[in-house]
């Protein structure tokens, strides 16, 4: 089932091996991931696509150490996440992983600057001031540093979240439908920002999305259906992704209707 194309140049930033995730047990158990193996190459912007219920959010959660696998293994760099306890997982997320969620990315009581520095402050370190300074310019929020999240627009909030995700120079940034709550113009800005950051700074981004336009910003798209990896596509365009998705939904559409766990936009 494994499809490997162009990812053997360097050590992948993150990968999962034979990942199985079952929610519930026995007859009512749902196999959200059904033996997925995938590498996310370092220095690349990878999108995970798939119809609703295909397991794409679950894959991301497990790869990022937010959730644990039922079977199989997941790695950040060469660290096996299954061998870490909650505390080490937390520290790993803090020091080596960045997150951008669909919504509610920012702590309302903290200012923009404090939100960006949050993982560094939690670690008790100073981070790299030049890097953070540069990040602030890249996301274009220098004049908003003292504002509270409630005073920003949705697009601005997501840009702050992107800056926060990159602040600690993480090995990999996971983005879960980062544009799901945004209009297309703001969404485009955020996606452009993610892409630019990867290309300029050599960071790694893994993004879950259901939107072919968003996926087209990535270097590569992996397709999931029914908990399995079904395809990969290099240099995607919105049209080519859309075509592939239509094909996937035609073949496995029925399966998606019975999924009830939280995943993607409802």
């Amino acid at each position: 089932m494994t499809v490997t194309t162009a990812s053997t140049r360097t050590l992948p930033a993150a990968r999962v091996l034979d990942a199985v995730k079952v929610y519930g047990s026995g007859d009512t158990g749902v196999r959200a991931l059904d033996g997925v193996s995938v590498d996310f190459p370092a220095g690349r912007f990878t999108a995970i696509m798939g119809p609703s219920g295909s397991g794409k959010s679950t894959l991301m959660h497990c790869a990022a150490g937010l959730d644990t696998l039922t079977e199989g293994a997941s790695y950040i760099g060469d660290t096996d996440l299954g061998s870490l306890d909650d505390r080490r997982l937390t520290l790993l997320r803090r020091d080596r992983v960045g997150f951008v969620f669909q919504a509610f990315n920012l702590v309302p009581t903290l200012t923009v600057e404090e939100n960006i520095r949050l993982p560094l402050d939690l670690a008790g370190g100073k981070g790299d001031p030049e890097w953070i300074d540069a990040l602030i310019d890249v996301v274009g929020l220098r004049d908003r540093l003292r504002h509270r999240p409630a005073e920003l627009s949705g697009g601005q909030q997501q840009r702050v979240a992107v800056a926060r995700a990159f602040a600690g120079r993480p090995d990999v940034v996971f983005a879960d439908e980062p544009t799901g709550n945004l209009d297309s113009r703001s969404g485009g800005e955020v996606l452009g920002l993610l892409g630019r950051t990867v290309r300029r700074t050599g960071r790694t981004v893994v993004m879950v999305t259901h939107d072919p336009v968003a996926a087209a910003h990535a270097d590569e798209v992996v397709f999931l259906a029914d908990g399995r990896l079904v395809d990969r596509m290099e240099n995607p365009t919105a049209d080519s992704v859309l075509d592939r998705m239509k094909a996937l939904e035609a073949s496995s559409g029925a399966a998606a209707t019975s999924r009830t766990w939280t995943e993607g936009p409802v």
Partner: protein, 853 residues
């Protein structure tokens, strides 16, 4: 079931945990209240039965008609009757038996050499009445006293002093009498009449040691023959009794005794408990209000949806109130059951600590069930009323907005109202305290001050938390500053949560400050008025103790080390129509050992018809030196005394001073309350004290104390009172803590996604726990600091108001150590309150938290 009821029931079922705090607050308050009422009734009934049993054989009591009551005493002093009357009474037809009852103060010394009792309840001695029906005490073991020196002791006293039959010990009458215990007695079936100690001696001994002259008795107990009713007996007796002597029925006598116990002990005790359950319920009000306010805020969208779907304001309000009443009724009902449990527990506990709780079933009256129920429901509904009204006002459009979290804080109206209230409060109290001393003005001001604090809470909380939490960010980094900002998020909520603790802490600090001030006052009094080197006294409290032998002063005076030894005795007389305590002493020696301030006239030669009065009393009665005033003694004699001296300080010497010779004809059992000793020049304090102690040992081992020791021991009762008050206030503080914990739990529920985000980006569980705990500590710190301020202010008001409205000068003292302890307890309590919510927050599943919609 109508719609709003169905909604409330399903909401309650879904959010049981949210109301756990409310439930507990109401439960504790109601249980305490119900327990107090049931215990009060049970004690009262128990004493009734006990006295009934003990004195059922007495059909009539013959005694002096007139009693003189001095302020602060519930039982007057009566002149004894002559025992000759017994013969007259015996000859009245229908009298089966009549015996004299001789009673006086007599404190037994226990096996360890320490006096038994004396801290409140009376320590009595009397003649052992051989007629078992007329003797309220019943011989339980051993035999009645036959020879001089033999005594019967009530069992409770014997147990407390570890005395057995056959043991020899000392009875202070106050002259030390060597006695041998030959029997143990019970009172109405119990080990004693509450904590009262009783020593029964032979009649001859009793006359010798307990009366001023032989042939006197406190009362004559009379038993009727068959077929003669109590009333009939009294009528027949009255015909033969001389003037000034009366007869009352046995039943009336019993009622008087039980009334005395009720008013002296039970009322004070139950009132105290009721006050504290009131405080606990007041604190509960804040906690409950807060819970409902938060729940309503969290349910804004749900309520808005209901309104959008066509529910009326009234229906939404009603559904919240219904929820409140279900909680109120359940919690109150369970609380009443808990109260009965509390009373039953106390009934079991009291005997264990040496307090004979009268046996018998708990007396559960309708009042003690219905009142707590009503109070619980009213408190709960009253607290939920405002939030419920607010729920009804939810705009239907709110359903479409983002989740509305309570952001309301310091409105201008609030700030202005609060400031106005505070200004009025301060103005009123200052007027009541400084300008025209009035307790009422001061009290009104104090209540207003409390109101001002509550109103200003949200305004102050922002500044206060910012200041208090300032160091937190530096100390604990981002965890600390997150905690601080969370506490700042909703000023109103923070203030309401802290208010509960604030009231508790305020009352604690009020008592602490007042207690310390009383101590300082006593200290100041002793150091100012006591000019001697050592004080000899028997530490006692209330009606207990038997005082000092009146001969002690004389013996001490004879010591080569002693310059002056003066005993202060106590007499009673009516002056200007009111009962007054007289100081019976040697006025000249008094002047040498006490600082009496400026003395006009002379204390020399008061003789048998001279009196010295303090300036304040003299002014009140318009007397100056040379004027005459009439004193009425307990024996009915009216003598005219000439005011020979007016002195300035009354604190230790009392308001009226007469000589021993003047008092002698009217005296009863003689005792001195204090012997003040000053040493000759060149005698070291240690040598002098040792010499005095040696002599005192022969007079029943009273305490010999230096000035400082004496001042400290005078304040001993205050510490006891404070301990009791602290124990009772613990309940209010506990409820306040439940409130903090509850608010935090609800806030955490509200911030689920935020907490999930924090965890996702790398906050460790221990950082998260610390963050919640610090928030709790900050809220507690705000409450504690507010409480300390308010309590210290109220303490100052109380001290100054007491100072302004009474004759003696009060000192104001702020005890830094105790208040530091209060602060520390407040903060620790805050940290404890945060423990559980912090643990729950840390258990949060990251994935679920960020996925929650």
């Amino acid at each position: 079931m109508n719609a709003s009821l169905r909604l409330s029931v399903s909401s309650l079922r879904a959010h049981k945990r949210r109301f756990a705090g409310t439930f507990l607050a109401v439960f504790l308050g109601v249980a305490f209240l119900a327990g107090t009422l049931v215990m009060g009734d049970t004690l009262r009934a128990g004493f009734d039965t006990m006295f009934g049993n003990a004195t059922s054989g007495t059909d009539a009591v013959v005694r002096s008609a007139e009693a003189i009551t001095t302020p602060g005493e519930s039982q007057g002093v009566r002149e004894p009757v002559t025992t000759d009357l017994v013969r007259t009474v015996e000859q009245v037809p229908g009298v089966a038996a009549a015996v004299p009852d001789i009673q006086g103060a007599g404190q037994l010394v226990g096996a360890n050499g320490k006096p038994i009792g004396g801290q409140g309840p009376p320590t009595l001695a009397g003649n052992w009445i051989d007629d078992p029906k007329l003797n309220p005490y019943e011989l339980a073991e051993g035999r009645a006293p036959k020879r001089s020196g033999e005594v019967v002791v009530n069992r409770g006293t014997a147990e407390k002093g570890h005395l057995k039959i056959g043991d020899t010990t000392v009875l202070r009458t106050p002259d030390p009498v060597e006695v041998t215990v030959v029997g143990l007695a019970t009172f109405g079936g119990e080990d004693g009449m509450a904590q009262v100690t009783f020593t029964g001696m032979t009649r001859a001994d009793a006359e010798k040691y307990l009366t001023a002259r032989p042939g006197e008795a406190s009362t004559i107990q009379v038993r009727a023959g068959p077929g003669v009713s109590q009333r009939e007996l009294v009528e027949r007796l009255t015909r033969v009794l001389p003037q000034g002597v009366e007869a009352i029925t046995g039943q009336e006598s019993t009622e008087e005794n039980t009334d005395m116990i009720s008013s002296q002990f039970l009322s004070v005790f139950t009132t105290l408990l009721l006050v504290f359950s009131g405080i606990a319920l007041l604190v509960a009000t804040f906690s409950i209000h807060n819970t409902f306010a938060i729940v309503v805020a969290q349910r804004t969208r749900e309520n808005a949806l209901l309104r959008a779907l066509g529910a009326s304001r009234r229906q939404v309000t009603a559904s919240t109130l219904t929820e409140a009443s279900v909680v109120a009724v359940t919690a109150s009902a369970v609380g009443i059951a808990g109260g009965i449990g509390v009373a039953a527990g106390l009934q079991a506990l009291f005997p264990a600590i040496g307090f004979p709780f009268p046996e018998g079933d708990l007396v559960i009256s309708a009042l003690s069930m219905l009142l707590p129920l009503a109070v619980g429901v009213v408190v709960c509904l009253g607290s939920a009323l405002l939030p419920a009204v607010r729920a009804g006002r939810t705009a239907p459009l709110a359903a479409l907005r983002e989740t509305a979290v309570d952001q309301s804080g310091a409105s201008r109206v609030r700030a202005v109202t609060g400031a106005g209230l505070a200004a009025l409060a301060v103005a009123l109290t200052l007027t009541g305290v400084l300008v025209s001393p009035s307790l009422w003005l001061a009290a009104t001001g104090a209540v207003l001050a409390l109101g001002a604090f509550v109103v200003l809470g949200p305004v102050a909380s922002t500044t206060a938390v910012r200041v208090l939490g300032g160091p937190l960010g530096r100390l604990r980094g981002v965890t600390g500053s997150l905690a601080r900002r969370n506490a700042l998020r909703s000023p109103r909520r923070t203030a309401a949560t802290a208010s509960a603790l604030m009231i508790g802490v305020a009352v604690v600090s009020l008592f602490t400050v007042f207690g310390a001030s009383l101590k300082a006052t006593m200290d100041q009094t002793v150091s100012r008025s006591f000019a001697g080197d050592v004080a000899v006294s028997t530490p006692s409290f209330g009606a207990g103790g038997s005082g000092l032998s009146p001969r002690l002063a004389g013996v001490l005076q004879a010591l080569p080390e002693v310059d002056t030894a003066v005993g202060l005795g106590r007499g009673v007389a009516e002056v200007d129509g009111k009962g007054r305590a007289l100081t019976v002493t040697d006025p000249l020696a008094l002047e040498r050992t006490f600082d009496l301030g400026t003395v006009r006239g002379s204390l020399r030669g008061l003789g048998t018809d001279g009196i010295a009065i303090t300036r304040t009393e003299a002014q009140k009665q318009g007397l100056t030196t040379g004027d005459r005033t009439r004193l009425t003694f307990t024996d009915g004699e009216k003598d005219t005394f000439t005011v020979r001296a007016v002195y300035g300080r009354s604190e230790l010497a009392g308001d009226y001073v007469i000589t021993r010779t003047a008092w002698a004809p009217h005296r009863t059992q003689d005792s001195d309350t204090l012997v003040a000793v000053s040493f000759k020049d060149g005698v070291s304090a240690g040598a002098g004290k040792a010499a005095v102690e040696k002599v005192a040992a022969r007079y029943g081992h009273p305490e010999v104390q230096t000035r400082d020791e004496y001042a400290q021991s005078s304040a001993g009762g205050i510490d006891m009172m404070l301990t009791l008050v602290y124990a009772l206030l613990a309940l209010a503080v506990l409820i306040a803590l439940l409130g903090i914990a509850n608010t935090l739990t609800l806030a955490i529920h509200e911030r689920t996604r935020e907490l999930g985000l924090l965890r996702a980006v790398g906050q460790t569980r221990s950082q998260l726990r610390a963050m919640v705990r610090w928030e709790s500590v900050l809220v507690a710190a705000f409450g504690t600091v507010g409480g300390l301020t308010l309590g210290a202010f109220l303490g100052w008001v109380l001290v100054k108001a007491s100072d302004g409205t009474s004759d003696s000068t009060f000192a104001f003292a702020v005890p830094p150590l105790q208040l530091a302890v209060v602060t520390l307890v407040g903060l620790t309590a805050g940290a404890l309150a945060g423990l559980r919510p912090a643990r729950r927050a840390a258990r949060l599943d990251v994935l679920r938290a960020i996925a929650t919609e």
